[in-house]
């Protein structure tokens, strides 16, 4: 029996120290199995919040790889380090002053370092979401807010692109700005949204909300489990 158990165990290295952990865990759970406790560098555990950036190298591979610790399975001989936070500067702006319809260089103006891009593609290789990061930086340099926003849509702000960039570009902040500009200036206003806001203001949910506030935890849970989904289309 001991043998079989042995087969399912693999070796990983956390900041240089070796641990034996069961196969099939994510990097995050493997670290916890090894006795580490996440205080920072972990959020949703579901691949959405981007807090769990991790850098690793596999044995016999000369390349460093980047991924999300909560989404990636551990492999035998993985050398790991956690990077919970990327201290990249985010620029402040007044959304009403940055109309891309009136200005050519809105993105370049707030993030001038995009002019230092050498097209090395290191950012795209680092991206755990497989975004074409280099291509959106190039689009941003051309003043193409729409394309920057579209290409970067799946970004989780883990920051791995920025930590790898030889030109010190803050890709994810740039991309967020592009998406906000798209929302504010390029997308059509939705008549549905206006209608909904009016309904909310008129209090269509007030009654239901007050009822929920009176519920016990168990009643709430039941309510959540039995919730109805809106019909598609």
């Amino acid at each position: 029996m001991a043998d079989q158990e042995e087969q399912n165990m693999i070796d990983i290295y956390v900041m240089g120290r070796r641990y034996r952990v069961p196969e099939g865990l994510t990097i995050m759970t493997a670290l916890e199995y090894a006795g580490y406790k996440y205080v920072r560098g972990c959020g949703c555990r579901g691949g959405f919040c981007g807090a769990c950036s991790t850098v690793y190298r596999k044995e016999d591979d000369y390349k460093l790889k980047m991924d999300l610790a909560c989404q990636t399975a551990v492999e035998d001989g993985m050398f790991l380090v956690q990077l919970p936070f990327v201290p990249a500067l985010r620029e402040a702006y007044e959304i009403e002053d940055v109309d891309p319809g009136e200005k050519d260089n809105v993105l370049l103006d707030l993030y001038p370092e995009i002019a230092r891009c050498v097209s090395c593609n290191t950012c795209s290789k680092a991206c755990p979401q497989d975004i074409e990061v280099m291509d959106y930086v190039q689009a941003a340099l051309r003043g193409d807010v729409e394309r920057t926003a579209k290409l970067s849509f799946d970004c989780l702000h883990c920051g791995l692109c920025s930590i790898r960039c030889p030109a010190d570009i803050k890709h994810y902040h740039l991309a967020q700005l592009a998406r906000r500009l798209k929302g504010r200036y390029l997308d059509l206003d939705s008549s549905e949204l206006e209608k909904r806001i009016k309904e909310l203001e008129e209090g269509i949910y007030t009654e239901e909300y007050e009822e929920m506030l009176k519920m016990t935890i168990d009643e709430l849970k039941k309510c959540y489990e039995e919730r109805k989904f809106e019909e598609e289309g």
Binding site: K103, N105, L108, P112, A115, L141
Partner: protein, 128 residues
């Protein structure tokens, strides 16, 4: 004033530029044709002399290599076929490669009106 000699400087500049600094005969053709010479505190051919002397410290106090915009006028006219623009670039790089910027990115307030290629070009020549 005594020059503090950096004996490796000449070697470094020749290595980065691929050009021979010693080939210069100080004829002054580069300075005569340089459209920026009035803005420079030291003439290009004087920079050559300082490189040979290993006067890195002195050169770094001059603005010559930062005024040079790599227009290649000197390069095409040099009777000794020295690609002087490459030498200026090498001198710039010895500083930029220490992760030093000569332009303050966050201090620029005119980017909106500039064509992108100006910004790209400036950063390539003036940031490390």
């Amino acid at each position: 004033m005594k020059v503090k000699r950096d004996l490796e400087f000449l070697e470094k500049v020749e290595e980065l530029s691929g050009e021979s600094v010693n080939a210069c005969i100080r004829c002054g053709t580069c300075s005569a044709g340089c459209p920026f010479v009035e803005e420079m505190d030291v003439l290009p051919e004087r920079i050559f002399k300082r490189i040979v002397l290993g006067d890195r410290e002195g050169i770094m106090k001059n603005n010559t290599m930062w005024i040079c915009a790599a227009c290649f006028t000197c390069s095409v006219r040099c009777p000794r076929d020295i690609d002087i623009a490459k030498i200026m670039e090498a001198v710039r790089l010895t500083l930029l490669r220490e992760d030093i910027d000569m332009v303050d990115l966050d201090g620029l307030d005119n980017i909106e009106e500039l064509p992108q290629l100006a910004v790209v070009g400036c950063f390539r020549k003036e940031t490390g």
